[in-house]
Amino acid sequence: MTAFTLSEEETQVQATARAFLRDFVDNTYLNEQEESPTGFEASRWGRMRDLGWSSVHLPARVGGADGTLVDAALITRECGRAAYASPLLQTLRSATVLDAIAADKTYDDVLAGIVGGAIATLVAPPDRTVMAESVADGFALSGPPVVVEWLAQAEWVVLVLPTVERGWLGAVVTADSFGERAVDVPSIDNERMVRLDLDGMVLPSEAVRTTDLSAEDAAYALARADLLRASAMVGGAQDVVERSATYALERHQFGQPLGKFQAVRHHLARMVIAADGAQLLCDDALNRALPGAQETAVARAALFAAGRSYMDVVLTAAQVHGGVGTTVEHVLHHHFRRAKAMQLRSGRRSSRLRELHQGLVVRREAVEGSLW
């Protein structure tokens, strides 16, 4: 139950996505993919492209379905529910950012490529640890290494970075531009990751297609992209709550279902509150995240709440499930690891909270949309 209603088309998007994933994703499948060399099946990626998943919210001009961020978020929510790992989230985030920061047709070639099935990934360190500085032949980058999902599998890498001089830049390079700077690292969840050392690298001028992007516009473009991750975490949390409730009815101890023990009932109720709160805020933020609306603060709030709730519910779910929840034979272990990994991909908790304080309390950015 939410305070928001889906349109007919949106309901259709959600149902199609759920049915598609339910058809092949289960724990065994997820385990197999995690152990496979590529981490996902190219044939499934082709199917998702055919369904228009990575371009659902892109303009018709580049071949997209002209949908909204909500459509994309409903798809990532279903992927989150299924604990399904693929380059989709990164591709969607990249496309969202490019579409938002493009002046006119700046990135149409890349967006059209994404419509055609190209994988893209996004480098935009949440704690803004990498800076760009203008040099003769482009922008020199400096800062500590970052981690990037699915870079090794991607065709395009989108970079959105603050510059030393003024404003932010947007750039696109091919994934082979990094050479030994990109090293595969194991991720705690079933997504793929590289550690990318950008320090000292120069982004060539022709790669940098946007300069002088205002900090506000960059922040909003990234916040919208991050709502897709928030939505994935909301989906994950919902699945965990539902599975836990089902389990509490099935599993008996002391001659009664677990769901009769008040300690367990209260655990479950707290999980409902956590998941509902995250969903409500995510939906509110999505509802408000129209292009140009600059609803950055509430989108960031939604990202924070989704990470916190997903993490809260997996911890409690593990308790409700007892031993079985911790084995690799149970899908809960994917959710458990994904919750933490996805939360961490939003950067440092303390930085996020201070940012939220700035936006919500000091600048009262969300006041108009929140009514008070």
Binding site: M1, G259, V272, N287, A301
Partner: protein, 389 residues
Amino acid sequence: MKTVLGPDQRSFLAELRSYLDGLDPELVESTRAENIADPMQPREHGRRFLRQLAADGWLGVSWPTEYGGQGRTEIEHWLFAEELYSRRLPNGLLTLNVIGPTLMLTGTEEQKADYLPRIINGELVFAIGYSEPDAGSDLASLRTRAVRDGDEYVVNGQKLWTTGGHVATHYWLAARTGKQEDRHRGVSLFIVPMDAPGITVTPIVTQGGERTTSVYLDDVRIPASQRIGEENEGWAAIVCALNFERMFFHNEPRWELEQLADWAREQGLLEGESADAYALQERMGEHAVDVEICRLFALRGASMLADGKVPVAEASANKIWWGELRQRICNTGLDLIGEEGAIAHGSPYAPAHGHLEHGLQSSPVWRFGGGTNEIQLDMIANQGLGMPR
């Protein structure tokens, strides 16, 4: 994805705000001070304030026009209640928000004709008499007894925690008409004037300064026409009223967070770069997120009501979130303040205008009033998830 808040709702809110901004400042200030001291019962100024709103047609926003209301949806009703909470002004409390709507659903035509016009005029104030010394969470074990005698009932017993018992005009009273072992199937609900012969009210003062009362009922005679619903079927009205009661909260935590922000601004911590400033900003950032969630739990309930559904597990979630958040903001807000936080409200030196300290002292009731949070969690497990009882 659409929210139920459209341009109509926004222009309603704008209209309400400009109306409230135009009220006599003396009336507003004295009402606010009275309401901050003890929000659980409208007293001298609060009554004046509500009668003014009534005279200007602003009470009963979602009430049907046949009962003198504006005939708008529950969404506007919610906006109204929250806007007043946000200004720390009384919004009609339980009388307007709970008793009125419950009467509309469960009262007879005569009862509605008798009470609704007077509620919407701001004339009546109800106190609620459910709890007893031995019936708290286990309300179905209540012992106050109503015995039929011709056209009347004769009531004897004791109620505890009747908030507003000393200022109310009427009593919303739950009493046993059936057998003790019938539990909730032996309870009836009545309305009786607070000054009826045989009612004695004695005060109880709580640590936060809010007043509540004990009510003794000694051969109190209530006409049978004042029974709400059938004999032994009062429980439905109680449940209905409690669900309404758990729905109308959200803006108080936002207000308390603003009090903390005022203090932090004065101290240079709101935007500072020191370790203390960072600690405060992190804490406030998380509270601010939780305040937005609080808004949405309430909006969800309002949108269900507007759809003709009664929020149950959703009302419980709202009430838990609201009460715990408020308590957390007051408690951790004082932690950020430190030593000075020990100065009690009332002193001009009390930080954050004394509101966090006052709030903290009042906060226990937020977690157990209207049904304790433990009971609410059980309701979410039952109604929301289908767990066996």
